[in-house]
């Protein structure tokens, strides 16, 4: 089974690192994984895309993901056409927003009979725990709750490898908070 995950954010939110942390966690778990960014001329605020593939079998393709199983949206102000493009029917959408899934679906017009929509207020978690609105690690935590393809333990290990020391410990806290929050705050509208 292969999962193809596309990350959408804006420069500075850490979408590229999020894609990488998920792949690292999957590799620590003994799975095959691949993470890569879609590079533009990076600058803060510009839309950024990154990709993660996770599989039980070796991954050969290096094409960008055009028909994702999952899209993770780090910035809810991004136009929905950007992140819904090519999303498989029944695919999963995880959005960083204050809104509940029901409210978000209503405000954006996302068809929840076609997709599974989850929301989490990762910005609040990041501000509370990290003191900066860098939501990448929180979004990884929320994702592995709703898509349990890697264990929380391996996500934490990947984070500690990426950010050793105190910064890593804070990010682990953010991961755990989002892992808990996503279930409480979201409505699985199907």
């Amino acid at each position: 089974m292969r999962f193809e995950i596309r990350w959408h954010g804006r420069g500075g939110q850490g979408a590229v690192t999020a894609a990488m942390i998920l792949a690292e966690a999957a590799i620590f778990e003994g799975k095959y994984a691949q993470a890569f960014p879609e590079f533009g001329a990076e600058r803060r605020g510009a839309p950024v895309r990154a990709y993660t593939r996770v599989s039980d079998k070796p991954i050969l393709t290096r094409a960008p993901i055009t028909r994702p199983d999952v899209v993770v949206v780090l910035d809810s102000s991004l136009p929905k056409e950007l992140y819904l493009a090519g999303l498989k029917e029944g695919g999963l959408i995880l959005v960083n927003t204050k809104k509940t899934a029901g409210e978000f679906a209503e405000s954006t017009g996302i068809d929840t009979s076609k997709y599974r929509l989850y929301t989490v207020d990762a910005t609040r978690i990041a501000l509370e725990i990290l003191g900066v609105p860098i939501v990448n690690t929180a979004m990884v935590g929320a994702l592995v709750k709703v898509l349990p393809i890697v264990s929380l333990e391996n996500v934490e290990k990947a984070i500690m490898e990426t950010f050793p020391g105190r910064l890593g410990e804070k990010n682990v806290k953010a991961v755990r908070a989002a892992y808990e929050a996503v279930a409480a705050e979201s409505v699985v509208a199907r």
Partner: protein, 408 residues
């Protein structure tokens, strides 16, 4: 060729690494003595990681920070001439700036190894991937390997020192891979817990002609018409030898470590009417694109060129000999040539003397990282069968995916 080496006892760690980091790990495990480099996207993280290894005490090496790539390769050459195991890495404009020094490394017969995260060339500026930079080095007498995974980048750099430092070769080696599409892609890579088995496989050759104050020699002196040609012919001979040395290095690597790649790699070529030829990371995309077609009974296969220089003519001919049409995808343009794909040209010339040969079609794609998906590959496969039906390959390269150009 029989390989009688015992399988080495190695404990491997499975790490998430980019191809750039895999290159740095290989340099560490090969105990390289001197690294000189100048940062350029998308190569920079190779030398950043090496600098980290040196700072941590994991690698005991001299890192020379120079003012340009021209100087980077010059310093690498000097270190190699003094007997050190030397390494550098670059891409794109950096490789272009090194160009004259590339010939000096090979002409001095120095076993320098360099990794290339391939990238398009200016102007206009593109930081993205294609193979224009690498293909411009074709005639510099560097042995050139093109890897298709981060694991293969690690393994090929290990093999590269073994080939380069072979007394019968003594030529520099480049190990290339896709900039961004591989240089910045994280994937699982096996690296050894302990580098001893790596050094047993590729021991340092300090027993070579080198600059030594006790026994002074000159290197690269002015050489008149009476002798210059012989020096160059020796490079021709060494390159020829390098082909079998590269094959043997890979076979022995496989015997010891359980991983091998060959000089080329093939998929379903025995049963294919159309074979797609690719190199670098694109090969994986080609395989995933055609696997479902093969399952449906479409007679399509694939070949990957791993050793670009010296060109493995016999291997290529054997792999492609059964095909009716060979479609070579090149990620570089030889401007002004009707067949503008460098690898396509080489495949064509390999078959020139044969009566029975496949039709060969040249496709240019992925220039400046123009997107190539599995769908793109399947469109190229469809078009290849169309051409096969017509019984005549186009006499010019097809420029796939460029605006305003369509092929019927």
């Amino acid at each position: 060729m029989a390989v009688t080496v015992q399988e080495a006892k190695v404990t491997w760690k499975r790490l998430p690494l980019s191809s750039n980091y895999a290159a740095a790990y290989a340099v560490k495990d090969l105990d390289v003595d001197v690294i000189a480099a100048y940062p350029i996207t998308p190569q920079t993280t190779v030398v950043e990681k090496i600098a980290e290894f040196i700072a941590n005490g994991e690698l005991n090496a001299e890192m020379i920070h120079v003012e340009s790539e021209h100087s980077a390769l010059s310093a690498t050459i000097a270190a190699s001439a003094a007997g050190a195991r030397a390494f550098t890495a670059t891409a794109s404009q950096g490789l272009e700036l090194m160009h004259e020094i590339l010939h000096i490394a090979s002409g001095l017969r120095l076993p320098v190894v360099m990794s290339i995260a391939t990238r398009a060339l200016s102007a206009p500026i593109s930081i993205w991937n294609d193979y224009s930079d690498l293909m411009n080095t074709r005639d510099t007498s560097w042995i050139t390997l093109i890897a298709s995974s981060a694991q293969e980048v690690y393994d090929s750099i290990v093999q590269a020192y073994r080939i380069a430092e072979d007394p019968e070769v003594m030529l520099p080696v480049m190990v290339a891979y896709d900039g961004y599409l591989m240089s910045h892609t994280y994937e699982p890579v096996l690296v050894p817990e302990d580098n001893k088995p790596i050094l047993d496989y590729a021991p340092k050759n300090y027993n070579r002609i080198k600059l030594d104050p006790e026994r002074p020699i000159s290197m690269g002196t002015l050489t008149g018409p009476e002798w210059y040609y012989e020096f160059k012919y020796q490079q021709v001979v060494a390159m020829k030898k390098a082909l079998e040395k590269a094959r043997k290095a890979d076979e022995e690597f496989k015997a010891r470590f359980g991983r091998g790649y060959g000089l080329i790699e093939t998929f379903n070529v025995e049963d294919a009417d159309v074979v797609i030829v690719a190199y670098g990371g694109l090969y994986g995309t080609v395989i995933e694109a055609i696997e479902p077609l093969v399952e449906k009974g479409v007679k399509v296969g694939a070949m990957r060129l791993r050793l670009w220089r010296p060109f493995p003519v016999e291997d290529v001919k054997k792999a492609l000999g059964n095909a009716k049409l060979v479609t070579v995808i090149d990620k570089a343009i030889s401007y002004g040539a009707r067949i503008a794909g460098p690898v396509a040209l080489e495949v064509m010339s390999s078959f020139y003397h044969d009566e029975a040969k496949p039709m060969i079609m040249s496709v240019i794609a992925g220039i400046g990282q123009r997107r190539i998906t599995e769908d793109t590959i399947r469109e190229i496969v469809d078009y290849s069968f169309k051409v096969l039906g017509r019984g005549r390959a186009p006499e010019e390269s097809l420029y796939w995916g460029v605006r305003g150009v369509r092929y019927e």
